[in-house]
Subunit: 241 residues, 2 copies
DNA sequence: ATGAAGACATAGGACGTCCAACCTCTCGTT
DNA sequence: AACGAGAGGTTGGACGTCCTATGTCTTCAT
């Protein structure tokens, strides 16, 4: 379940993250120049530059033209945690350490709204997974996933599953998954979820319903999520022209 | 307001956006291969690849190894109704009739948070517009726009302005506006906005902060919005590959 | 007919090179 | 002492080249 392929670019990225961690670099500390690191690692400056650009986009470093490269936000996470889900990335971007916890999971008959979105026959079964996502051990997202049984995902233990659902789906279906379509609204926290998010009933939360489609517009997973909006913000980039 | 970081990469990006628009390409339509476009534009395949990668990150296209490059989300809003703003579309989609009302407008010194996002000098002036968006005469969105004065928008009467701000900006700056970057969170409705949205204080609302950029990543407008979440849902399409 | 092998087109990845733009520091002229 | 020119280091941008990985389509032997 390696989402990170072992390309040189990723090696370089990993090296830089290690470098910052091991030398205990703090915010605004300067990193070695592109050229020197590239020489040390035996890669071209292009490759290193690409790694730096990526790290900058991820908010780890800041590059300043004509001056040098500096630590922006020391890396909170090492590689493997990065594999869970897109939401881990969001949490990471905000500066927390993400983790998952499975509350329950079972095969159930699809509820009407789910069945509707997934275009299932009546009485069709779905794998139901109830999880929470934690940021620095604090619960911030409550997740319910519904995956049609007919897809036939193979997982040794759903209870212990911490992999990337999207990756697993893509691999099992052997087709690229194309998009998540999400609807977002604000909502008052209902009582039954309150205990999981450890927030008072009625607190404003982001409620998201998200559907993953194949290229053929077949819905393969439907998820309901509740975000603790005090900690997590959603980020959209939308093209307007 | 110098708007010309006219790098080749940006030229290529702009060209591809135009290409998709002018040929009216839709989702899943195939784009010419990297090599052929690069040859047509007289740039190296590297440069073109970089543009493609960027466009993919922005959700406009999808690249598939060994197959080709495809349109993910056409970069323009095909709108006739969309006279005023993307939000009119959202309201329309939900089944209401959108309209606007200007509450107040003036030139003010940019508040710190706004000045920060727009990268303005201290004490720089901005055009401040306070509006509400109505769905079937019912207020559903509260909007505050901040536009740098130096852009020099020409409007006969801001009070009566109901045009499309984005269009006006694009025309005045004579450059395509590229993307909106938005941050969304849930929030309890504060008292000062309560009267405009006609909702009780403390009601859960969607709070959105939205920035419009040029192709060169210059921020040209910053907006704060509050959505009545009982009526409006936001809709995101995010590429996950 | 069928299926395997191979040709071809496409994106993925990396390298080495060159020059531009930007910043800091030093050193010589005034 | 003040200032400006210039050297040297740093990131920014682009090019051309080479090879690899992945799909698709054709061709040919069975």
């Amino acid at each position: 379940m390696a989402i990170t392929t072992d390309t040189r670019l990723n090696q370089v990225k990993a090296h830089m993250l290690n470098y910052i961690s091991q030398n205990k670099l703090k915010r605004n500390d300067q990193l070695p120049s592109e050229a020197s690191i590239a020489k040390d690692l035996g890669v071209s400056r292009n490759t290193l530059r690409e790694a730096y650009v990526t790290l900058e986009n991820e908010g780890v470093i800041v590059r300043r033209h004509g001056i040098g490269t500096f630590v922006a936000q020391p890396p909170y996470i090492q590689d493997s945690l990065n594999e869970f889900s897109p939401f881990a990335q969001i949490i990471q971007d905000v500066g927390y350490t993400p983790s998952f916890k499975t509350l329950s999971t079972e095969i159930v008959e699809a509820p009407p709204d789910v069945s509707d979105v997934l275009k299932l026959k009546a009485n069709a079964k779905v794998r139901y997974i109830q999880r929470i996502v934690l940021a620095d051990q604090k619960p911030v997202i409550y997740v319910e996933d519904f995956i049609p049984s007919e897809i036939g995902l193979q997982v040794t233990s759903w209870e212990a599953f911490e992999g990337n659902l999207v990756e697993l789906l893509a691999k099992t279906l052997n087709t690229p998954l194309h998009q998540i379509q999400s609807y977002i609204r604000a909502q008052s926290l209902p009582a039954d979820i309150s205990e999981f998010l450890k927030l008072p009933v009625g607190a404003p939360i982001l409620s998201v319903r998200s559907t993953i489609y194949t290229l053929d517009n077949q819905a393969v997973t439907f998820s309901k999520l509740c975000f603790n909006s005090e900690i997590i913000e959603l980020n959209i980039v939308r093209m307007i022209r």
